[in-house]
């Protein structure tokens, strides 16, 4: 857990400049390019995911963060609406479960035989 962006910068730069892909074939060969910022940073803000409403403290804190970001002239804050999260979430759960959750139905129907 870093305390500043400078720390993160140093960490990633040190790791990438070590060129670890020469020693480990599973590492992606991404060299440190030291690219500089072009234009404004665009940040999309999703207030909620369309399935559950954030509670008051979470909403307040999000508003605080958006306000702090909007004050910076190098940052452009764009509100976004996440499309169809429900379907994607159930897809995700299907990936995480054994046989997409169908095994639960099997056990439920199998218990009728006992």
């Amino acid at each position: 857990m870093a305390h500043s962006v400078r720390d993160c910068n140093l960490f990633v730069r040190t790791i990438l400049e070590a060129e670890t892909w020469s020693y480990d074939s599973t590492v992606l060969s991404v060299p440190w390019t030291n690219a500089s910022r072009k234009g404004k940073l665009r940040i999309g803000v999703a207030q909620d995911d369309g399935m559950y409403t954030p509670t008051p403290p979470v909403r307040r804190v999000l508003a605080q963060a958006i306000e702090a970001l909007s004050r910076d002239s190098n940052v452009e804050v764009v509100p976004i609406k996440l499309p169809d999260v429900k379907r994607h979430y159930y897809d995700l759960v299907a990936y995480f479960t054994l046989a997409g959750g169908e095994v639960c139905q099997f056990f439920r129907s199998a218990s009728v035989l006992c």
Binding site: V45, A46, Q47, D48, D49, G50, M51, Y52, T53, P54, T55, P56, P57, V58, R60, V61, L62, Q64, A65, L82, V85, K86, H88, Y89, D91, L92, Y95
Partner: protein, 76 residues
Amino acid sequence: MPPAPHTAVPFDCWTTASYHGLWNYLDYPAMVIPVDQVSETDIADDLSNAQFGTDDEKLYSLCKNFTISSRCQIRH
């Protein structure tokens, strides 16, 4: 967006991973930045604010008395 729609919940009451699970599903890099602590001015408001149906209302109603130890975070 927030990493969860709520702050800390009572034991065994966490119902959904739809907020942070989405970025997992898309394989996006993500990080969570702590912003603030829950304060006394945050009060549980009317259930009609829960916009998305009965599941949402159930989760929203868990937000009753806030303790100062809950922390609020945003996900980047």
